[in-house]
Amino acid sequence: MNLEQARQTFVIEAHDLLKRMEEYLLALETAPDDKDTLDALFRSVHTIKGSAGIFDFEPIVAFAHVVEGVLGDIRNGKMSVDYDLAALLLSCGDHIGALVDCVADRGADPSVELLTQGGALLDQLQTYINPVQKSSEPKVGGLPARHLAKTFTGGARKVTSDNWHISLRFGPNVLRDGMDPLSFLRYLETLGEIISVTTLFDSMPDAAKMDPESCYLGLEMDFKSDAAKETIANVFEFVRTDSKIRILPPHSLISEYIDLIGTLPEDGSRLGELLVNSGALTPEELAEGLRIQQDPSAAPYQEESPRHALIGQILVEEGMLQREIVDGAVDKQKQNRQKNLREHKFVHVQADKLDTLINLVGELVIASAGASLLAQRAGDATLREAMATVSQMVGEIRGGALQLRMVPIDEVFSRFRRVARDLSHELNKEIDLVIDGAETELDKTVIERIGDPLTHLVRNAMDHGIEPADRRKAAGKPEKGTVRLNAFHDSGSIVIEVSDDGAGLDRGKILEKALERGLVAPDQILSDQEIYNLIFEPGFSTAENVTSLSGRGVGMDVVRRNVEALRGTAEIESREGRGMTVRIRLPLTLAMIDGFLMSIGGASYVVPLDTVVECVELDGKIAASGRDYVNLHGEVLPLLRLREQFREQGQAGRRENVVVVRYAGRKAGLVVDKLLGEFQTVIRPLGKVFGNLKGISGSTILGGGEVALILDVPMLIQKAVNAETQTAAG
């Protein structure tokens, strides 16, 4: 795995862990003593620290270490999580997230602001830390995080030198291969400052045996640079295979230096002296390191620390993994990782790979439809049978591929727990967030784009929906407000509801405002629904005092626009004094659907199969009378004649059919000529030219290469129902 990929994996994992950390912290507020949660919380931070260490992301390691310390104390029952501590730890999580983003940004160094912010958080954490562990060393300005971390980890375990230490033993063939080690030194000088160089020719044999074309050079260098480790390591790319290269980052552990001394061919005491002379180690550090090497129990750290010792080593040198102490640490990390894997059995796949797959499957569906058509025409029974099997398999592949993109909506919902917590504190209202149907799945692309509108609705509900406690009390409602998020599947779409038990919409006030703004005429008669929908108009707000969070109505137009861009609809249900619900309906996927194919004259149309309730033959008499409704199972069903709707040429066939479709609880009958059955439909968007076309939501390509239009069922039902109402009224 190359470093860049590893880095990306780290970033994804870290964000995943931080998200879980947040969940655990919120869970702890209600159950502060839950052992499993405490363990999981500790583990999440610990794992971030561990992985960051592997990549030498020092700021994260230092910061996470302190957080981990506090969490360790909590886990050991030395303190418990109260509101303030939870808030502080949440901020710490955010800070780690920001540091991780620095890493994501190709290893950029964190900004001074970020470090200052981290320092402030650490200061706050410090007040929780066991006084015994508190630093007695005066804090020096600059990087408080680093200083804290150092005192916290027992002071002398990391070397004080700010420099990289680079140890090189060139392979014998380096010169013959056309490389000159001098060029490395020259190039390093462009990356930073070479503080000291010690050249060793110890491997050079006696004069007689010395081959002037072989390379016997060894270098011990101290190097001051802000370059990333990867950059420095890449300098030696072309000699990597047969040379021994070890790069120790600034403030590496003493044990790493001791290891370095141990693995180099030269005499240990000579190298130790060399490191001290070059300033890489202080004499005290060397002495301590050697003492620990001889007697591991003398190490001033226990239990967790071996894992800490692992930091930076794996990448620095694979060769040192045989050491027992590191082995133990690696095992421990592996255990943690496996545990995590068991908890979350996921494979990270790049989104564009998935998109390519889905596109290919789309093409496959179309191609297979074409092949089926040809098989039909050929009239060969065995071929038809074979094609039928292929079609069935293709259908399953399509289903499976789409399933890959489905993610539980919890991905969006879960973030609202934090939003709710922060907001209720800020607004000084007690609000419960209840989440239902979090496991409901929908397309990843839809999820990504629905987050913001939902956030807006949740904020609205909390800020303006839920009344202050005294007003609620006066209205005879419980003081604690409830905001409910709900999601479920309904005829091929997903329904997301955001509801609150607050004051509901003020019908009168909305109408007043709408009149004022000229949105409605004074003599216009509007249904409640129509009035509520007015809040989706741009810039519409009835809030008397607009807060920084939200003014009910402001931005609702953005919500609607976003939802409509996803081919969805938004509706409002409100009961004055009892609360309101915003209901969003979205198609499950934006790529492929099971369609129902039908034809009018020579043109083919598709409706999503999920919306089809039943198909019936149209009575000849009704067809002749031109009536717009039929009696179906004792109910009135409005009819929409698609031939008229889309101005198709030609006379209706001898028999017409009615396709009964349903959406959002309402039904309508579409009158068509022929029913052609189920059809796997790959949705192609229509061009901008057709943007204003009502009743059509997209197009698809049939097996024979013809284009079929996909009907916009919600729009058509709306139209049929309106027509019926008008007829009834007229």
Partner: protein, 122 residues
């Protein structure tokens, strides 16, 4: 590369003229060690050295090591700028122990990431 020999104050003085690099290292080694065997006091003037690389430098190092080992005297003199630079980079001026003018101000040089040049075929 050519080596002129002269004797001066009891020193055998070698004047190296030309490049000392991977291409001349074998020849350089042979000649320098031969001369070292033939005298107790050797002086090598590096004024006329053109290009020097690590291979050439290794031979100088070897010669010095052999001289010290056998209790002989070896001085390097009149270092050319290229020689000074390489001694400076490898920080071995002290090892040779000859008076040199070391420029402590390291100039920032333009350098690209090292990659193999033409291979030396043997």
């Amino acid at each position: 590369m050519q080596i002129q020999v002269e004797t001066h104050n009891g020193y055998r003085r070698l004047l190296i003229d030309g490049d000392i690099n991977i291409y001349t290292a074998s020849e350089l080694k042979r000649q320098l060690l031969d001369h070292l065997v033939g005298t107790d006091k050797l002086e090598i003037s590096l004024a006329q050295v053109g290009e020097i690389d690590t291979a050439g430098f290794q031979v100088l190092y070897l010669t010095k090591r052999e001289a010290v080992k056998s209790g002989k005297t070896l001085h390097l003199t009149s270092h050319s700028p290229m020689v000074l630079k390489i001694m400076d980079l490898y920080n071995l001026a002290a090892y040779f122990g000859d008076p040199v003018v070391i420029s402590r101000t390291r100039k920032k040089v333009r350098a690209s990431r090292p990659k193999p040049k033409t291979k030396k075929t043997t």
